[in-house]
Structure formats: C-alpha cells, structure tokens
C-alpha cells in the first residue's frame, strides 16, 4: 500500500489540539482535586486517597444501583431496538411511518419525557387509574416512591425513550443482511429461529457492539432522567453515580470528593466499553 505521507496529519492535528486544550487539560486539572478536600471556598489541602476509601466504604450502594439500572437499560433498550428493527425491516407496509414514530421520543428532551412519565406514574396518575378501572386496583402503587419499582421505572422510561434510536442502529445493521442469505439458509433447512441465530445475529455483530457500548456509556453517565423522575429518591434509592456526583459536589459542596467519584466513573465507563468491544467484536475477518 502507498504510504499516506503528511496529509492525514493536517486533518488530525487541529482537532487533536482543540480536544487537548478544552477537554483533556481541564479534566486532568480537575482530576487533581480528587486527592484534596476542596469545598469550593477554602483552599484545598492534600488528603491522598482518603476520598477514594470513603467512597468504597459509603458509596457502594450507588455503584450497585448504577449497575442494576445499566443492566436493565442496556438489555432492555437493545432488545427493544433490535425487535423494532426486525419488525420494521421489510414486511409491514406502514414501516416508514412507524419508524419515524418510534424515533420521536429520542429527539424529545429527556426532561420533557421524564415529566410526562412522572405524571403517568404518579400515585393518582393514569397508570394506577387504569389498573383500578380494570379491577387490578390492588397492584396500583406509588411507582416512583419505592426503591425497587422506582429503579425499574427509570429503566423503563429510558428504554421507552431510546428504543427508537437503537432501532436506527439495528436497521442500518440489517442492511448488511442480504435477503438471499436468509433464503439460502431456509433452503438449507434452517427454521426461523435458526436463521436468526446463525445468519442475522452474527451479521449484526458490528451493530450490536455499537448499540451495547453506546447504551452502556449513557447508562453509566445517566443523570437528567433520574433527576427529573425521582431526584435520586426515595432516600437515595435511585441514586446513580451521575446524580451522586452532582449531589456531593454541588449540593453538599464536596468538590474534592465529587471529583474522586467522577474520576472512578470515567475509569469505569472506559473499562466497560473496552471489555464489551473485545467480547463482542470477536475474531476480525
């Protein structure tokens, strides 16, 4: 192959310099606060790893909640997105309209979506009213007011909002699954499930990597929806790393501690993304 010479550098250098200047440098400076007890007012003093040990002692429930939420969201949104994409890839005559429709929630502000759902899920909201109307009044409950249903509710709202976005990723991926390959498998004797598992799914691997990594990152960094739906409550029961960092830093004024947790969060996201890419990419052909 021809050697590329200097031209690619011309494109890379400006972008790299900008990233370095406005993203990486401030981040690194901020990261330094993680090792101090800065409260935003008095001058910071060095505390070593104290912030980190404190987080490992006190913050582990937040990590657990974040992981549960991330797990529910990543599985839910990718399954829903893939399901929608498979359903709307070929057959339905109304597929173009439906595709656009499913995408709408993803382009609405998360805050607006969250307020709609706080209304729906309210104790006196439509969901409970419907349950009562059909005689299931006993299962009506304060969905956002108790820890276990609140976590699931946040995950469901997130899935509802972003399923359409993930549908787009999988629709693009399905373009690479030629109909003739499925026909060949059918003639070879494969039933619908076999065709999906042997042909469609392996060919969707690149899309699966993108979908999983993107949804994991957004689940780890989740903030607005939780803030708007539950504010982290009840009593911290839906706190995620995102809301925890915010509360500690800006509400409690513990800038040093908040920086430490944020640093761990960034590390965690990078690690998770790397592991997923490794696992899902498999052998490269």
């Amino acid at each position: 192959m021809k050697r590329p010479g200097a031209v690619p550098w011309l494109f890379v250098v400006p972008a790299a310099a900008l990233t370095l200047l406005i993203l990486l440098v401030p981040s690194l400076v901020g990261a330094a606060y993680a090792f101090t007890d800065w409260d935003g007012l008095t001058s910071p003093s060095w505390v070593g790893l104290a912030n980190f040990t404190e987080f490992f002692d006190d913050g582990s429930h937040v990590v657990g909640q974040t992981l549960i939420l991330a797990g529910l969201y990543v599985v839910g949104v990718n399954a829903a997105g893939l399901g929608l994409a498979l359903g709307l890839a070929h057959t339905l005559r109304t597929r173009h309209v439906l595709r656009a429709l499913f995408l709408v929630p993803a382009v609405v502000s998360p805050l607006v979506v969250a307020y709609i759902w706080t209304f729906i899920l309210d104790v006196d909201g439509p969901l409970n009213e419907i349950l009562e109307a059909v005689g299931l009044g006993s299962s009506a409950q304060p969905w956002l007011g108790q820890r276990n249903t609140a976590l699931a509710a946040v995950a469901i709202v997130m899935v509802w909002q972003f399923a359409g976005y993930h549908m787009l990723i999988y629709l693009a991926g399905l373009q690479g699954v030629q109909r003739e390959l499925l026909e060949a498998a059918e003639v070879d004797g494969a039933g619908p499930w076999r065709r999906f598992a042997d042909i469609t799914l392996p060919l969707l691997r690149p899309a699966l990597v993108i979908g999983t990594v993107l949804s994991t990152i957004s689940a780890f960094l989740l903030f607005d929806q939780v803030m708007a739906l539950t504010g982290g409550g009840p009593s911290g029961g839906t706190d995620t790393l995102g809301t925890y960092v915010y509360e500690q830093t800006f509400v409690n004024g513990r800038y040093g501690y908040g920086s430490a947790v944020a640093l761990l969060l960034v590390g965690g996201v990078c690690l998770a993304a790397l592991v997923q890419m490794r696992l899902l990419r498999g052998r490269r052909s």
């Binding site: 059918e186 003639v187 070879d188």
Partner: protein, 388 residues
Amino acid sequence: MTSIGLDHVVMRYDGTQAAVDDVSLEIEEGEFFVLVGPSGCGKSTLLRLLAGLERPSSGTVRMDGSDVTELTPRLRDVAMVFQNYAIYPHMTVGGNLGYGLKVRGVPKREAAARVREVADLLGLGDLLKRRPTTLSGGQLQRVAMGRAIARRPRAYLMDEPLSNLDAKLRVSMRAELEQLHRRLGVTTVYVTHDQVEAMTLGSRAAVLRAGELQQVAAPQELYARPANAFVAAFIGSPPMNFALATAREDGLDLAGFDLRLPAEHRPPVAAGERVLVGIRPEELRAPQAAGKDACALRVTCAVRQNLGADQLLFFPVPQLPYEAAVIARATFAEDRPAGPAVGSGERLLCARVPADVSVEPGDTVDLAVRPGALHYFAPDGGARLPSA
C-alpha cells in the same frame, strides 16, 4: 428420486406483468432438465417457485405427485445454487459447505467426510479454512455449488452455477456435473442463458421467453426442429439467418435468389405469399460440400471472422422495407439481435465455412444450401410451418 410438475403456474410480482406466465411442465425422476432463455425471461423466478421461495399467484407445484405449492423450502428438501452465490460471509468455506448438513442433523463425522469429498471434487480443498471475503468470484461460485452438492436433497436447483468461471474451468466443471448426476441420479433443474450449456448438459431443455414456455424438447430437437423463430434464433451459434421470402410454384424467391426446391421441401404456403425463412450459418456451405440438389447462392463477402477451425463470412442481401420489423417481432430476444443490418435496405447474413476456404472481404463466393435445411416460419408470430 423425485419428479417435479408445474400446472398452469403464473407468477406476478406486485401485480405487474407476469414474470412466469402459465407454465406447465413435467420433469421426470432423475432427469437433468435445463431451463434456458434470455435475460429477464423468468428463469430464476421459475427456480424460486420450485424451491418454495416464492408462492405462485396461481397454479400448483407438485413433487412426486403431491401438491407442494404451500410447503416452505425447508419441507421441500431441495438444494439450490443461487445466481449471486449467497455465500454466508461470516462462515469459513468449510462452514458454508457443511451448513446444510449441520442444520439437517447429519452426524458430525459423516458431514466432515462429505465436505472433504465435495471440496476435493470442486478443487476447494485448500480453501476450507478461508473466509469468503478472500475468495475470487469463480471460487465463490464453486463454494455455492459445493454447498448444494454436499447435501443429498430430493432435487438440485442450479441458477447459472458456472457463469463466472473461466472457459477452461467451465468445460471441466460441466463434465464433473454430468458425472455427478450420473452417479447420484438426483433430479436436477439447471438454469442457464448459455445455449452451449443447454445443448450439452441436459436430457431435455425448456426455452422460456418473457415468462412463457416456447418449447420443451431434447436439445437436438430444439436445434433441428425449433417450434418457432424465437427458439430457432436462440439455439445455435452464430444465430440462424432469417429472411422474408416469397413462395413460388417451384420454390422460393429469397432476397433476390431464385431457389428451386423439390416438392417435399417447398414452403407450405400458396405461391405469391410471404414466408419467413431460416437458414443456419453452418448450412450455408461450399457447393461441393452441400450435395447435388443444393441451391446455389453467389454472394459478395463483406466481413470475415476467423474462428480457428471455421470462419464466419458475412454477406449483404437486399431486404424488404418491413423485413427487419417482421424478423424482430418473431425472434425478439434482447441479447441476440436477429442479425446486423447495414445501411438501409440491406442486411448481413452469415455463413460458417471451414477455415481452409480462402476468402477475403470483397471476394465473390459461391455458397449452397440443402433444400432440407430450410426452416419455414409464419411471418406473423413466427410459428414453425412444416414444409409442404
């Protein structure tokens, strides 16, 4: 072994013009049956109907006498070679060859042995571990073929399986296919637009045109007694010459040539009427090679093409004003025009003579045609007219 039948099958995609139009066919047990026709005539569609990948708009498909029209491809148990390969890109060559065996539950040891055998047969032995993206077009086509051959289905359906191989490989693969068919005796439906394959491979061939069946017969019969001008033009290379002639009491007036014919070879129309006459290039011979009752034609050679053993001589003959349109209607086949026309009022006919006849463009050549070698067709529609 399986027989296949089609009864009045019509296939319309999205209510447009029929891609397969009222086709009825019987393919016998163990037969090697060829489907041939120009591009877009519905060959692939017919094969997909047999595989169960399409449901006919009307009509029925039978296998071994029972109606399979509603059966899915899986239940029909046929193997198909797709026109554009449809190789699974994420599996190795070996994985592709063995997929049908795996799915149908053939024991691992037996499957591996069969994959090996097929790979050796098709010259893919060294490629088993390779990924399809690293293969050439011809290699891919052999993998597609191997995937079908590895199975022991009720029938093989092959859609132009040799079209991408070089000439030499194609000849040897044709021989392999024939041997394989003799050995296994599996009913095979073979699609091609190559009339050499149609002539050499099958025991019978069907000629399709715009979704309609034109003739079903042994290859030699298609060549010797084409049912209409379309089949006559399609089978044979270079294609048959056509000219509009006028019948006379004692023979024909063919583009100014006066052909006297014995009674049994005269056209079956009244004197003075027009008839479409077809003459194969190989039947236009040097006078001494044509026999004693042959009709002589003295022509001027315009173009000469050397084929090695033979040469093609093209010579102009005068043409009636509406002749080109009549011939096009009767013989229309997109990729095989009835013969090049030069200027206005003339067309080129072609003769195939041995290469040792020395002719240069501009030379006057004496040719002759046996009266029995003249084919007659109706000028409207092109149906074959038996000679009187």
